[in-house]
Structure formats: C-alpha cells, structure tokens
Amino acid sequence: MELANIEKLIEKYLDAETTLQEETTLKNYFTEGSVAPHLQEYAYMFNYFATVKDETYTKTIELEPKKSKRINFKWLSVAASVMLLFSVFLGKQEYQRHQAKKQFEQISKGLRLLSSNFKKGENAVAGLYTYENTVNKILK
C-alpha cells in the first residue's frame, strides 16, 4: 500500500476513527518489514499489540473451587465438634469425681470430728467408771 494512503489512515487511527478493517491494513503494513522512518513509532506500537495477542492462558480452568479444601474444612469442623463433645464429657466426669472427692472429704472430716468427740465422752465415762469402782471398793 502506498505511503500516502497509510499516512491518511494513521491520521484517522489517531482520532480513533478507523474501522477494524482499516486497522488490520495498518497492522499488516507495520508488522511486515519496511516501514517509512518517520512512521517508525507506529511499527513499535503495532508490533507490540501483535505480540501481546499471542499470550495465552495456559493453566486448565476448573469450574468448581478445589474440592479437597472444602472437604477438609468440613471434616475439620466435624473433628472439632467431636473433640469439643469429648472434652465436655471428660470435663464433666472429672468434675463429678472432684465433687465426689470433696464430698467424701467433708463427710470423713465430719465423722472424724464426731469420733474425736465421742472419744472425749468415752474418756469422761471411763473416768466415771474409775470413780465408781473406787467408791465401790471403799464402800465394801
């Protein structure tokens, strides 16, 4: 294509008035070698646009978010709730045992108190017996 025509198209191109077809013409001109020196900057631009278009998305596209992650979370929550239940259960048992121990200690303390008081009474009674015995001896 002759230079005058290209220059006209460039003018339109800068004003964003070219059609897609005209832009293809420009693209072909600027990417296929010999470019007039005063239009060199357009060659950079069009070559850049062409190279960028070659870039592709190479990874595979998944439609569902990775399942393993979700399942992991599910199982994690199940495990956590089981652990929680278990620890509550254990805690309750431990608490009951603790409570029972406390009760036992209280009761045994009470009994000990009772027994020691009984002993005091017994001693007193034993004193009474000795008293009675001596009285009996003397009286006899």
């Binding site: 060199q40 900057e41 950079y44 631009m45 278009k53 870039e55 596209i61 439609l63």
Partner: protein, 169 residues
Amino acid sequence: MNQSDFLKVVLPFKDKVFRLAKRLLVSTEEAEDATQELYFKLWRSKEKITEYKNVEAFAMTMTKNYCYDRLKSKQASNLTLIHSNYKEKETSLDKKMEYQDSVNQVHQLIEKLPEQQKIIIQLRDVEQYDFEEICKMVDMKPTAVRVALSRARKTIREELIKKHNYGVS
C-alpha cells in the same frame, strides 16, 4: 446447561479474559487467579448466561469489574508495587535488541495510562473488538470510547517519539 455446553460457550475467550486481567493487574499470577475466579463466577451463574445474547461481552465486563475490585483491595495494591513483568531496558548496540526494547516500551507506556484507557486500548488494539462491543463492555457512550481511545493512542505515540528523540540527541 451442562458442563460441556458451558465450556463450549466460554472457553473461546479465556485468553482474552486473561490478557485483559493482566493488562489491569500487571502480574501474571494475579491475572491467572483472576481468570480462574471469573470462570467460577460464570459457572455459578450459568443459568443466567443462556439469557445473554453476548456472553463474551458479559464476561469481559465481569473481568473488568473484578479487576477493579482487586485493584481496590489492599492485597492487590501491594502487589502492583512489586511487579516487574516487563523486561528491563538494556543498553544494546544490537539494532534488533533496540527494536525489541522499543516494543517493550509500549508496554510500559500503556501501563502509565489511566485504567479506563488501558482497558479500551486493550479491547480495541489488541483484541480488536468493534466499538459497539466495547461500549457494552465498559458501559460508555461511543463518543466517549472514541475520545479515550484517541487520547491513549496519541499519548503512546508522543511518548515514543519523546523517548527516541532523547536517544538521538
């Protein structure tokens, strides 16, 4: 709509989605994540897709919006600072290298453009959509699209000329 029907409709434009995402998010990894995320979204709304006449335009709009959201979120804003996907400019006597440099320069110049112009130049000059489609994708009036595109093209050209004149003098 089953899976194979769905894929038949949406797979042809996966590269375009990816390239648009990359244009906006810069990093390849981010763009790949965005593409994948977009396809999740499309698959989830697969019932609605059948109602759309132009699924591709719909997908591009979604991509644009998704990328905007990503850019707004903090995570992505950190990412934009680190990126360095384009090749470093090298000083080389080799003519061919110099040419390659100039081509890469275009990339950097586009990167400096406002987001809206980036999208439009990507859709028009790289993907070669016609104006009607672009208007739908970016939700703008045709005249506004033309103005933005013209501005983008002129900016790139002027910057290129500036750079090369510096090189000469």
